[in-house]
């Protein structure tokens, strides 16, 4: 270990290698509840060449490498392993190019998602993926988790915007995948292999993103319901009416009260559930869609439909929604967030299933999520120091996954498998495709240096 650290320090400089306990302790966890592990050291590369150096040294010393962006991951992806090097890309955060002629943006992997949005916005362009963590998550982390966001329904997820990347392979080779072309079928689409690979196949050091023209108009609606079912059914009705709003978010009463305690945006605290809907596009289309959505909400039992009066109010509501997960932490000491996703026609029945599971195990579960995408975040509010309750949490989680798979759903829609969902992956994929994952991992990282033990063993 000492010789590894000595070599790292010699190659990168002492300021880029942290080893003191006070320095590395804060890298022992990410945004996931209850997981922590102290690494051996934390290194900050300047560029792909530095990353390559680190990977080569790691290989020589057989030390695992855990790549990290901002550590907001919710499945334990950047939680270290014993003796690991944490390779933190947060200081590689430059936006390198905004190309208005080709509608692309190139940035280092540590660039903050919000900064990418802002840089595009400044020239009248639009980078849609907006995870709740966008103010601090890195684009590299977004790519590695294939993150979604509030605009997923209409605009898709991170994958839909990555047209190129620079990636450093386990043996230290630096390669470019993709280019600025709109179409390209030269060879396998290897980019996609690294998107959502959770740091297990290579280290992304640069990302080339596709941008869109900024929508001319936006309108936000807030609809309140007296039952969760009614809200869930409204979602299905909107989709069935062939309307694709840009955002279609659901918050139950527990969540909306916590969010309002924090953001104080005047949410209807007595509603059993609310839907936050945004439509964007041509002003006439937006007005038309907003009217139709309002009608559908009322027809399905909405007790009130409020239109955001100004852009500022709309932005406030979206920001408030983004805080949902963290705001729920107000209720209990430990907040365990799940990420199951079901076909949208199954939403209402899935919510009911979650309610029954909560009752059965005497747990408090709050639910919110990107309902337009069929993505629920049932959040268990508990206390990690209460062993008996934590046991009931485990049982409840297993049942939630079971109910999800029964409905043709997935155990994770956007947060990744990491450590947290590892035990359930095989059950979802089945033997053949589970083995295929291993085959890919073995061929790209034969010595299991990159985030070993994440996704699968």
């Amino acid at each position: 270990m000492d010789s590894l650290i000595a070599s790292l320090t010699a190659r990168l400089g002492a300021a880029r290698v942290l080893t003191a306990r006070e320095d590395i302790l804060p890298y022992g966890f990410d945004g996931t509840a209850t997981l922590k592990q102290l690494p051996a050291c934390v290194v900050f590369p300047r560029d792909a060449a530095d990353v390559s150096t680190v990977l080569k040294l790691a290989r020589e010393h057989r030390a695992p490498v855990v790549t990290r962006g901002s550590g907001t991951g919710l499945s334990g992806g950047s939680v270290p392993l014993p003796g690991a090097i944490v390779l933190c890309l947060a200081k590689m955060d430059r936006i390198l190019e905004v190309d208005s002629a080709n509608l692309t943006l190139r940035a280092e992997a540590g660039a903050i998602t919000q900064k990418i949005y802002d840089a595009a916005d400044a020239v009248g362009l639009f980078y849609p993926p907006d995870p709740g963590s966008m103010k601090i998550s890195t684009i590299g982390g977004n790519v590695a988790e294939n993150s979604g966001g509030l605009r997923g329904l209409k605009y898709g997820v991170t994958r839909d915007y990555v047209i190129g990347m620079e990636v450093v392979l386990a043996d230290g080779t630096i390669c470019w995948l993709g280019n600025k072309c709109v179409k390209d079928v030269a060879g396998y689409n290897l980019r996609d292999l690294f998107i959502g690979s959770e740091g297990t196949l290579g280290v992304v050091t640069q990302v080339l993103l596709k941008l869109l023209p900024k929508p001319a108009a936006r309108q936000t609606l807030l609809a309140s319901f007296t039952t969760m079912d009614a809200a869930a059914e409204t979602v299905s009705a909107i989709i069935a009416a062939k309307i694709i709003p840009c955002t279609l978010e659901f918050l139950d009463q527990k969540t909306l009260r916590c969010v309002d305690d924090f953001a104080k945006v005047g949410l209807p605290r007595d509603a059993a559930a609310i839907l936050l809907v945004e439509t964007d596009g041509h002003p006439a289309a937006v007005a038309d869609e907003a009217a139709k959505i309002g009608e559908l909400c009322r027809a399905h039992g909405a007790t009130s439909v409020r239109l955001a009066a100004t852009d500022a109010e709309a932005a406030q509501l979206a920001t408030a929604r983004r805080s949902a997960f963290s705001a729920l932490a107000r209720l209990r000491p430990t907040t365990i967030l799940e990420d199951v996703t079901v076909p949208r026609s199954e939403l209402a029945s899935m919510i009911r299933a979650v309610e029954i599971i909560a009752q059965k195990h005497a747990l408090t579960i709050a639910t919110f999520g990107h309902f337009g995408d069929g993505n629920l975040h049932p959040t268990i509010l508990t206390d990690e120091r209460d062993a008996a309750e934590m046991h009931r949490v485990e049982l409840a989680l297993a049942e939630i996954f079971e109910e999800t798979l029964k409905r043709g759903g997935t155990i994770t829609g956007e947060h990744g498998v990491g450590l947290a969902k590892k035990p359930f992956l095989k059950r979802q994929l089945g033997d053949a495709s589970y083995e295929l994952l291993r085959l890919v991992k073995k061929s790209l990282d034969p010595e299991a240096l990159l985030n070993p033990g994440k996704i699968f063993d």
Partner: protein, 432 residues
């Protein structure tokens, strides 16, 4: 006194390490290293509570690298009480003595235990400073290059020494002043630095309260509020000073207790919590906290009268004191007051809620980060092109004034919003 180990563990657990506070934390933005972030600092505190880490020198340094600006508490959706964690951690650091050195110990003793516990002594020192400034000695010393003999961080700050007023608050304000028909009864706290360097702000505070139907009580000698002590790990003295304050003032006698300095107000509001375990004072302290108001907050609460005069007409930008906006969550009210001034155009500046680097005595203890923040702040303020910078905390006032002067913006006036309001009221009476 509580330490991290015997603090209610749920205060530490409240942080779910989501990271949403990171982009608002100036020290994290400066270094991009977790240890320098709220989440990282809380993790270190929790490690101490869990006995995974001792109170080390590095931990101590980290707690003093933190500005205590509380921007993280505004950003945190989970409602983490960083203020309490931070004060407890600094108290632990002092108790463990990991940063102790003869020089540091002397400065701390002189400031926290001697100067800022004795209001009369403080005024005496203020007088001496005033004499030095007004006698021309200061100018002489500057011209003769004597200032260069000072140690580095003092020399940098020397131009920022507050210009001491000729008359302090008690010489400007009578103990009780009454309007024609009093509707409210309030007590005004005059502060320490405010009293010496900005007694005009205290006078203006009384004037605007009078203009809004308040009978104003201002005790001529007031104990220091103890915020400096609490923020610097001297909780015992902070409690002592809070008790003195409560011996002097019975909150039940007033509708409100008014503070006009962001930093003091933030701490004054917390007396209830500070003394909650002191049977003799807990009830009175709770009452005090209930009554405590920032001046802007109170004026808006009682529906202050909009002035008719355009005396204050100018372009104004507003810098939010950390402990006013983050510590007390008073952010809209000062703006409402500024907007109420006829002819004033309020121009928002970028990062209005970012620390200016003054942060109590931070500009003395961490000169580099302080200077970086000052520079960043002045850039944003200057970009608005406003003629006036309004701000409601003496530390910010001095830091910004110093920064403007050093960057060729000496003509930009720095002023407390309440002074602008007082001017507008006063001008109504003098016919144009």
């Amino acid at each position: 006194m509580k330490t991290l180990r015997d603090l209610d563990y749920s205060v530490l657990q409240q942080c779910i390490h989501c990271g949403l506070c990171l982009p608002t934390c100036p020290t994290y933005v400066e270094t991009k290293e977790e240890r320098n972030s709220p989440r990282g600092r809380i993790a270190l505190m929790r490690a101490i509570a869990d006995a995974e880490l001792e109170v080390t020198k590095a931990f101590g340094e980290e707690m003093y690298y933190c500005l205590g600006c509380l921007a993280c508490t505004t950003a945190c959706p989970a409602g983490v009480n960083y203020a309490e964690l931070f004060e407890t951690a600094r108290a632990d650091v002092e108790k463990a003595g990991v940063l102790a050195s003869p020089k540091r110990d002397f400065v701390r003793w002189a400031a926290l235990r001697v100067l800022f516990t004795r209001p009369r002594l403080l005024r005496f020192v203020g007088r001496a400073l005033r004499l030095w400034q007004s006698s021309g000695l200061q100018t002489l010393a500057r011209e003769a290059g004597l200032i260069n003999l000072l140690p580095d961080n003092l020399r940098r700050l020397e131009p920022q020494t507050p210009a001491i007023r000729a008359r302090f608050s008690h010489q400007l304000i009578r103990p009780v002043e009454k309007p024609a028909a009093p509707r409210h009864r309030v007590l005004v706290l005059t502060g320490c630095v405010q009293d010496l360097a900005f007694s005009d702000v205290n006078r203006a505070t009384v004037d605007v309260l009078l203009a809004n139907g308040c009978e104003v009580h201002t005790p001529p000698v007031q104990p220091c509020c103890g915020s400096l002590h609490a923020h610097n790990g001297d909780t015992d003295t902070a409690r002592l000073l809070a008790r003195r304050q409560l011996d002097l003032v019975n909150p039940a006698d007033f509708d409100a207790i008014i503070s006009n300095a962001g930093g003091c107000g933030s701490h004054l509001r917390a007396y209830g919590h500070l003394l909650h375990d002191d049977p003799a004072y807990a009830a009175r302290a709770a009452e005090w906290s209930k009554k405590l108001r920032d001046i802007h907050e109170y004026l808006v609460e009682i529906g202050f009268r909009k002035p008719a005069s355009t005396a204050a007409a100018s372009t104004v930008t507003y810098h939010e004191s950390c402990h006013l906006c983050h510590g007390q969550k008073v952010s809209a009210q000062p703006r409402e007051i500024l907007r109420s001034l006829p002819g004033v155009e309020l121009r928002e500046c970028a990062e209005a809620q970012w620390c200016c680097g003054s942060a109590g005595i931070y500009n003395f203890t961490q000169p580099d980060t302080s200077a970086w923040l000052q520079h960043r702040k002045i850039g944003h303020l200057a970009a608005t092109g406003a003629q006036v910078v309004a701000t409601a905390n003496p530390g910010c006032h001095l830091q910004i004034q110093g920064g403007l002067a050093n960057s060729g913006h000496a003509s930009t006036e720095v002023v407390h919003p309440i002074v602008l309001l007082a001017r507008a009221y006063a001008a109504e009476k003098t016919p144009a």
